[in-house]
């Protein structure tokens, strides 16, 4: 090659470089070129179009519930539930503070694990989503007309509210169980090493009443194991609920060794219809148990707290036929019931197989008294008498199973980072796919119901490592969307999620999107400090307490000049949003306030408490960009020294 030629060939280099880069980066490396084009098409939701499913992903240690569109993986909302949320003032403003009250006082944070959609006839119905708080045992109810937490019920005689909340086929009951056994009853100050003698678990059954409110109906006293997860039966097994347990050794220290000794632990099969009958007959004992129920009043939008001090406890030693133990290898975690209600799959996290129990065999075994013994007054059924089959080679650390409605189950294998698909007829593994990395739960829309939508599966991974651009030591958790519509599972999409989504559920958008509240009608606003129009705006002093009833509309507050506030005053600023249209919230913040802003939905009233500690002029303003003149939406409050004689005066445009 002469010099001239090599220069000419050098001219090719940019093109070659682009070609090479395209091969390397244009499409990812570990699958076929064309399949990513297919995957992109399957998850692409064009601008202006909607996703097919709402996905509700728990926030884990952020205490909230995240909403994602599927299949796009777009994060479309976060619902504040168990943690204060400065983004809209939930848990900070006077109206919602009470939602976070517990028998332990105000708890500003929670650990949210398992979203559970309400069901009718065993199918998610789009009315509510429930979610548990693990640390300070509570269950929240979220109204899907508003995407707002409207009720939180504390659970007494419980610790580690992990096996929770799981609904029965028609949401008759929402169940919950104790991951950590504790002393139940009046004698609570005991030695920790007396655990075997003094600790118990409880299974709680919460009734969803006709008015939509939750009521703790009864609890069942159970041996002091660690109850881990649950699912209710459906179809033929409707009327029963199943709870896994581990630590049947009842170890109280170094559980990772001491709670892994027994070959088998138990699934507790609970005949909740029988238990509910006992409760309705007044059986069992009312025992002490302090708990709170917080709910949002639908007219004032103000949270109210109801105090309770006792609960009905049913003891299986006195009330037979309520509960049976199904021996299950080995420290089982998830327990999942097939869409037809017959098969009960357990994820034995230290087991080398997935044991699958048969509901009909279980009923036969109970009738034939095929018992191998009794624990704490609870008959233990014979393993061989109830087993439908074992899934061999399911990967290491099987945790959770969901179903596609087409005869297959899908189980996460935590240790080997994969999802295995197995047949409900042959119990043979028919396909497997890697996930990135270490999946806990998985989710198929409706995948724990009678009618799964077997199109997509989401793997909820515990380890992220190298999946996204690195963000220092802390990383969002990864989720992967997998196509399960064909024989082979196909990875479609990888998306980051907020907090730690332990579990998620999804529902066809059609069931939720058409009945959304867009704003609140001013004439229905029954808040005691609402200013429903500007002529109702006022400032009133009662001693050192000042109430400011303020209005907001694009783009001014009424009043926007306030004088006569003094150091040492406790100032309640009640802001009513006079807008009557969708997506026009106004915000409110005042300099130096020791709390979050307010975000006020159209037609609603929200209250910020401010105790100014210094004299001076304090600007306030709208925090939510609302109009072309949003920057003008502001005002001043004059704070005078305590001993001053400045009179209350206020107005706008004067």
């Amino acid at each position: 090659m002469n010099k001239k030629q090599s220069i000419r060939w050098l001219g090719l280099l940019p093109a070659l470089a682009v070609f090479g880069l395209t091969l390397i980066y244009g499409c990812s490396s570990n699958q076929e070129f064309s399949s990513y084009g297919d995957a992109a098409r399957k998850v692409y939701v064009a601008p202006g179009e909607y996703d097919e499913f709402y996905g509700f992903f728990s926030g884990g240690y952020n205490g909230q519930l995240s909403v994602y569109g599927l299949p796009s993986g777009r994060h479309i909302y976060t619902i504040p539930v168990f943690s204060q949320a400065p983004v809209n003032g939930y848990g900070y403003n006077e109206e919602t503070k009470a939602m976070l009250q517990t028998s332990h006082g105000f708890v500003p944070w929670g650990d949210a694990h398992h979203p559970e959609l309400s069901q009718t006839d065993g199918v998610p119905d789009g009315r509510y989503v429930f979610i548990n708080e693990n640390n300070t045992p509570r269950i929240a109810k979220i109204d899907l007309k508003k995407f707002q937490t409207t009720e939180i019920l504390e659970i007494p005689n419980s610790a580690g509210n992990h096996a929770s909340p799981f609904v029965t086929q028609n949401t008759e009951y929402i169940s919950a169980a104790t991951r950590f056994s504790i002393p139940i009853g009046s004698e609570k100050d005991v030695a920790i090493d007396s655990r075997e003698e003094t600790f118990n678990g409880t299974l709680s059954f919460i009734k969803l009443q006709d008015d939509g409110n939750m009521k703790l109906d009864f609890q069942i006293l159970v041996p002091g194991f660690d109850y881990d997860l649950s699912h209710a039966g459906k179809g033929p097994s409707h009327g029963w609920s199943f709870f896994t347990s581990y630590n049947s050794e009842q170890a109280h220290t170094l559980l990772e060794i001491n709670a892994s000794k027994n070959d088998k632990d138990f699934i507790a099969a609970v005949n909740w219809k029988k238990a509910a009958e006992y409760a309705a007959q007044g059986k069992g004992t009312m025992i002490e148990g302090e708990y709170l129920r917080n709910y949002i009043d639908p007219e004032t939008h103000i949270a109210t707290t109801e105090h309770h001090s006792e609960v009905r406890m049913l003891d299986p030693r006195e009330l037979p036929g309520m509960i049976y133990f199904l021996p299950t290898p080995k420290s089982p975690h998830g327990v999942d019931v097939s869409p037809d209600g017959e098969l009960i799959a357990a994820g034995g996290k230290l087991s080398t197989v997935i044991p699958v129990h048969s509901f009909s065999k279980m009923i036969d075994a109970i009738e034939n008294e095929a018992f191998e013994g009794e624990v704490g007054g609870i008959p233990v059924l014979k393993y061989d008498a109830i087993l439908a089959g074992e899934v061999k080679d399911p990967g290491l650390g099987p945790l959770h199973t969901e179903f596609d409605g087409n005869g297959y189950a899908y189980t996460t294998a935590f240790i080997t980072s994969e999802i295995v698909k197995w047949s409900l007829e042959t119990f043979e593994v028919v396909d497997r796919i890697d996930t990135y990395y270490s999946p806990g739960h998985l989710m198929i829309p409706g995948g724990d119901s009678r009618k799964p939508e077997g199109k997509y599966l989401v793997a909820l991974n515990k380890i992220t490592k190298d999946r996204y651009l690195p963000t220092g030591p802390e990383l969002f958790h990864s989720a992967q969307l997998i196509d399960i519509s064909g024989d082979k599972m196909k990875l479609l999409l990888d998306f980051p999620t907020e907090g730690e989504p332990h579990y998620a559920q999804a529902i066809p958008a059609e069931k939720v999107m058409h009945d959304q509240v867009r704003y609140y009608r001013l004439e229905d606003n029954k808040h005691p400090y609402a200013a429903r129009n500007e002529s109702e705006a006022k400032v009133t002093r009662e001693g050192n307490v000042v109430h400011i009833n303020m209005t907001s509309i694009r783009s001014h507050f009424m009043p926007d000049n306030i004088e006569g506030i003094k150091v040492g005053d406790k100032v309640y600023i009640h802001v009513t949003n006079l807008e009557q249209d969708w997506d026009v919230p106004h915000g409110f913040a005042v300099k130096g306030a020791n709390t979050s802003e307010l975000l006020i939905m159209p037609g609603e009233t929200r209250t910020l408490v401010w105790e100014p500690g210094k004299a001076g002029i304090f600007p306030f303003y709208c925090t939510d960009f609302c109009s072309a003149l949003h920057q003008e939406m502001s005002g001043y409050i004059r704070v005078s020294p305590q001993e001053s004689d400045v009179e209350i005066a206020y107005g706008t445009g004067q």
């Binding site: 070609f19 395209t22 297919d38 692409y44 064009a46 601008p47 129009n533 001014h556 003149l629």
Partner: protein
């Protein structure tokens, strides 16, 4: 020759790049951008506004009951921005019916977003006042009552 090779490589690369995106773009929601062409408005729309009110409305004698109802609705939904005798956030309304027809006022109340996008008079007002008229989600009956109230205000002023 080299140029042809280079061109071929470049095109191939572009094809590959484009191929990765895969999905077609396109908006199937059928939303249209704001039409700014006055030609598309009918004479009725130019005179009486764009919205659910498609027939002209005459107010000869004020119905005091309806006007009273309108006053209440006005107070809650409109008074934060409109005064009768002076410009406020929006224009003064004491004499609005001298300038606009009742149907125009109703369409402005019921379809403010459509009006400021498409109607030349409403567009002019937005440019002058800068704050868009909010949609207060009133129904036709309520808007009609407000107009009756505005007519009663004008009547009192001219007395």
């Amino acid at each position: 020759m080299t140029k042809i090779v280079a061109f071929t490589f470049s095109m191939l690369s572009l094809t590959l790049l484009a191929g990765c995106g895969g999905a077609e773009s396109g908006n199937k929601t059928g939303k249209t951008s704001s039409g700014k062409d006055n030609d598309t408005l009918t004479e009725f729309q130019l005179a009486h506004g764009i919205g659910p009110v498609t027939e002209s409305i005459e107010i000869h004698t004020v119905n005091p009951e309806l006007a009273q109802k309108g006053e209440g609705i006005f107070k809650t939904n409109c008074s934060a921005c409109h005064k009768m005798g002076e410009r406020y956030v929006g224009p003064a309304l004491g004499d609005v019916l001298d300038k606009r027809s009742p149907a125009f006022v109703m369409n402005m109340i019921l379809n403010p977003d459509g009006m400021v996008k498409k109607h030349p008079e409403a567009r002019k007002m937005l440019a002058e006042f800068m704050t868009p008229m909010p949609n207060q989600n009133l129904n036709e009956e309520e808007a009609r009552a407000i107009v009756e109230y505005l007519a009663s205000v004008r009547q009192q002023q001219t007395k």
